[in-house]
């Protein structure tokens, strides 16, 4: 029996460890050409003219496409109603890296050479880089029709914020800034596209959502969706950065023009200059509480620096605006948020979807409040923590909530109370110690955008040899969801997990799923796989029952053997039952269909943004212990304790891995990572200058799982991967404050920043 909760190895680990798995960037077709993109060298310029003749004449060049020659529609991602980009710039370029033209040639070197031979005459126009400046009257407009570059505003208000602050014994306020950081997935974006004679294009792409990619690329290319087939390739990391991406439809554009398959792959420099990093935010936030620690109100203003095109910016802004209000029992909240265009690289989704930014502000502020009223920060959080059964002002309903338990268990594990008392302590002349805590919550699927539907579906297919293949609409993006789905199917079917495969996605075959993002896979797709497996099992049991002449309700399957509870002599092999069903139906495959519509979930109100956007909310508490060097400003993390209410641990081996990876990315966000821009140009577009955590940067991590058994999650399971990152930065900031009394409000907390703050204080 494949048990839920046992340590199950990755089912595709052998392919990965032997190098035999073909990733997107490994894929080739016979006769394939190679494409490259010409990108704007200016942050803001009109395209006066373009001459591609010399490029076209270069031997080996098979196609050249430009925004001036191609009739390219204006579109936005996922069919949203804010179209603001074309595949190739037509009138003007809006950031350094903006796609201007593309070339397909017999090899990459020829394609690169051809790019050099394209003559573009630009007329530079004033650019705007700072989002606050961009919002001023008279600032250069990134998009002519958008006044003051404000692409979206959100105003939310619940309760009475003025009274809340008037009644508060302590009110704190600060302005926080988060930097432009990259997902830094190890495999750069790639695509292969090929058209057939019916005018249908097939993409072989690593993507988190074939469904959304199909919709967006149809709109970007001006063709109908049924003309697009997407075959999802295994991917070397995603973290939100591998939803829709322009390189894919550009590849199709070239393939159509060249009448040949084309492959395109980004360089690492292109990744840094022209993909979709995390939205930087400036967050001014105020909060107040009573002397006894009762949190009364929170007010915020968020300016989100979107860059040149919107992508998922509106959804990210909404998430940054609302989610943190639901962590504690907070009734009076008011937030005004602005999504602002600038002449910089467009931004997009990255693990946390706006929460790493907003919780850095919010959870730092909570620490400041606790300090103001001289209350222990963990006790402050426990006093205000949301609980199971709560409904928040945003109408989020918590069917399960393990926040208090996560705080309690992490404080016990980290020896919090004795360390808070003993610390801050000087260890030597130059170093001090501190310990800090921060929390967050997240969703398991997010209904706040994508109007079509919510939930997931799955098929469990059993062939006549008893071989099981699971089809889902949510790709494995490297986190191991194939293993999770195989575990669920094997558990329900009563067979060894080795008998189960999970297919990669193909839009001609797979269920129409929304894709992998918003921590939705385990909870939504997991439920769908479970019900599909139960339906398939029922078909086998009915066939076995007919053969054995017993009621199927008396049969069960264990270790691949169907047995009767009434007569132990009655047994049948799993594959025999599969064969009976198949042969009775002229060879048909046994297929169990399953779907899951998350209950009590709705779209948010367009104005108030009120609505229960998820059926299950995970909660996290994390504690960081730091050593701060008073001379150099260097922050060394000594330990991290991470407690996660994931509802139920389906597979501890993979769950621990999710926490470790998220913690590492959180450390990068907190201390190291920042894309530095000068006049709109990324000045550190490589891993030598853009530092991500390496093995030596990772402290010992204590991982704790709180099992709150969500009523709607499969076996009680909720999301895990995203919230595991969110509290790291504020936990470290709070530990630095405990150690030194300095409050760092701007990420990353580099030695230079800490040193400057220490000198300022002295």
């Amino acid at each position: 029996m494949t048990e839920i909760g046992s340590r199950i190895r990755l089912i595709d680990a052998v392919e990965k460890v032997t190098g035999s798995l073909k990733y997107g960037s490994d894929f080739k077709l016979p006769g394939m050409l190679y494409g490259k993109v010409l990108r704007s060298p200016f942050p803001h310029a009109r395209i006066v003219s373009m001459d591609v003749n010399e490029a076209r004449r270069l031997p080996g060049v098979k196609a050249v496409v430009t925004g001036l020659e191609e009739d390219l529609p204006i579109y936005s991602v996922a069919g949203e109603n804010y179209p603001d980009e074309r595949l190739l710039a037509r009138d003007k370029v809006r950031y350094i890296g903006d796609e201007v033209a593309a070339v397909a040639a017999i090899d990459e070197a020829t394609a690169r050479e051809a790019l050099k031979r394209i003559q573009v005459e630009y007329e530079e126009i004033p650019a705007v880089f700072d989002p606050v400046e961009a919002m001023r009257e008279g600032a250069p407009r990134v998009h002519e029709n958008i006044k003051q570059n404000i692409a979206r505003t959100i105003h939310i208000k619940h309760g009475d914020i003025d009274t809340a602050f008037r009644d508060s014994d302590a009110v704190v306020e600060a302005t926080f800034k988060t930097p432009l950081v990259h997902q830094a997935y190890l495999e750069p974006h790639s695509a292969v596209a090929q058209w057939d004679f019916q005018g249908r294009v097939t993409f072989w792409i690593p993507t988190q959502s074939p469904t959304l990619a199909r919709m967006t690329y149809a709109n970007a290319l001006g063709i109908s969706r049924d003309k697009i087939r997407i075959i999802q390739m295994p991917m070397g990391g995603a973290f939100g950065g591998k939803l829709e991406y322009k390189l894919h439809p550009l590849c199709a554009l070239l393939a159509r023009k060249a009448n040949a398959p084309v492959k395109m792959t980004n360089t690492r420099e292109e990744e840094f200059t022209a993909s979709l990093p995390r939205v930087p935010m400036i967050i001014k936030m105020r909060a107040g509480c009573k002397k006894d620690g009762t949190l009364l109100g929170k007010q915020a203003e968020i300016v989100a620096d979107n860059g040149a095109y919107l992508n998922y910016g509106p959804g990210i802004l909404l998430s940054a605006t609302i989610r943190h209000d639901n962590l504690y029992r907070l009734k009076n909240v008011q937030t005004d948020s602005y999504l602002v265009y600038t002449n910089k690289v467009p931004t997009g989704c990255f693990r946390g979807f706006g929460c790493p930014q907003s919780f850095f502000a919010f959870e730092s502020l909570i620490d400041m409040l606790a300090h103001e009223i001289q209350m222990d920060p963990a006790d402050f959080r426990l006093k205000n923590a949301s609980q199971s059964g709560d409904t928040t002002p945003h109408q989020w309903y918590f069917g399960s909530c393990g926040l208090s338990e996560a705080i309690t268990r992490s404080t016990e594990k980290a020896d919090w109370y004795s360390k808070r008392k003993a610390l801050p302590a000087k260890r030597s002349q130059d170093t001090v110690y501190g310990i800090g805590i921060a929390c967050c919550l997240h969703v398991s699927g997010n209904r706040s955008f994508l109007p079509f539907f919510d939930g997931a579906s799955a098929n469990v297919r059993i062939n006549e040899e008893g071989h099981v293949i699971v089809h889902v609409g949510e790709p494995d993006i490297g986190q191991g969801s194939k293993t999770t789905f195989a575990l669920i199917a094997a558990h329900e079917l009563g067979i060894p997990i080795e008998w189960v495969q999970v297919a990669s996605l193909d839009t001609d075959i797979s269920p129409h799923g929304l894709g992998t993002f918003g921590d939705r896979s385990t909870t939504l797709t997991g439920n769908a796989v479970r019900s599909a497996a139960i339906e398939a099992r029922q078909q086998l049991l009915e066939a076995a029952g007919r053969k054995m002449n017993v009621s199927p309700s008396t049969l069960s399957i264990e270790e691949g053997i169907i047995a009767s509870s009434q007569d132990s002599s009655l047994q049948m092999e799993f594959k025999e039952a599969a064969q009976i069903v198949s042969f009775e139906r002229a060879g048909a495959t046994v297929i169990g269909h399953g779907h899951f519509v998350p209950p009590n979930v709705c779209m948010v109100d367009p104005t108030t943004k009120v609505g229960n956007i998820s059926c299950a909310y995970p909660f996290v508490a994390q504690i960081a212990e730091v050593e701060v060097n008073l001379k150099s400003g260097e922050v060394k993390i000594l330990s991290l304790t991470a407690a996660h209410d994931l509802g139920k641990t389906l597979n501890p081996l993979l769950a621990e891995g999710q926490v470790h990876g998220a913690v590492a990315q959180g450390i990068g966000f907190a201390l190291m990572e920042e894309m530095r821009l000068k006049e709109g140009k990324v000045t550190n577009p490589n891993f030598k200058q853009y530092l991500v955590p390496k093995a030596k940067d990772i402290p010992p991590i204590q991982t704790l799982f709180v099992e709150s058994n969500d009523p709607y999650g499969p076996y009680g399971a909720k999301g895990l991967a995203e919230p595991a990152l969110t509290p790291i930065a504020p936990a470290i900031a709070n530990a630095i404050y405990h150690a030194t009394g300095i409050r760092i409000t701007e990420l990353p907390m580099t030695p230079e920043k800490v040193k400057a703050a220490l000198e300022n204080k002295a």
Partner: protein, 161 residues
């Protein structure tokens, strides 16, 4: 025509006699000419470790190394590590310890571990972290990779390869 030069190199135990384009990287030769795509490209400038192979038993990045520089040498890529269907103990350890997520860094990590364990049978945690310093993994936080290398060290002690 691009200038080509001859190259004789032993890859995964077999001699290859061929020619390469002048200036072609060893990574490009391995991936495009030999179709051994287990060796990955992550950065193109030696910063991430995805393209590490063993050259005469030592781990080396290949994206920033000219193919012509390995004339007459012995190269082991990830495809050459397992003996038939028998995984190398390091590969087994990576699977057992849960050291693999997306798997893109895995070939480079495994070969770096082989170099380390072949030259230092019982490395300390610090030795392992030092050896991994040229490698980026964005998924695992390295914790289970370090555990895997420690586990592999034990496995190789019991059953020397």
């Amino acid at each position: 025509m691009k200038k080509r030069s001859t190259l004789n190199v032993r890859v995964n135990g077999e001699w290859v006699e061929t020619s390469v384009v002048r200036g072609q990287s060893l990574l490009d030769f391995i991936r495009e000419d030999l179709n051994l795509t287990g060796t990955k490209k992550g950065c193109g400038r030696g910063d991430c470790g995805s393209c590490v192979v063993l050259i005469n038993g030592r781990a080396r990045t290949t994206c920033n190394l000219s193919a012509s520089k390995v004339e007459g040498q012995e190269i082991t890529t990830i495809e050459g590590l397992a003996q038939g269907n028998h995984l190398h103990p390091i590969q087994e350890a990576f699977i057992e310890a849960g050291a693999i997520q997306c798997g893109y860094c895995t070939p480079g990590m495994v070969l770096q571990a082989k170099d380390l364990l072949d030259h230092c049978a019982h490395p300390s945690e610090g030795d392992i972290k030092e050896a991994l310093n040229g490698h980026i993994c964005r998924c695992t936080g390295y914790v289970k990779i370090i555990e895997a290398i420690q586990l592999a060290s034990q496995k190789m002690k019991v059953n020397p390869v």
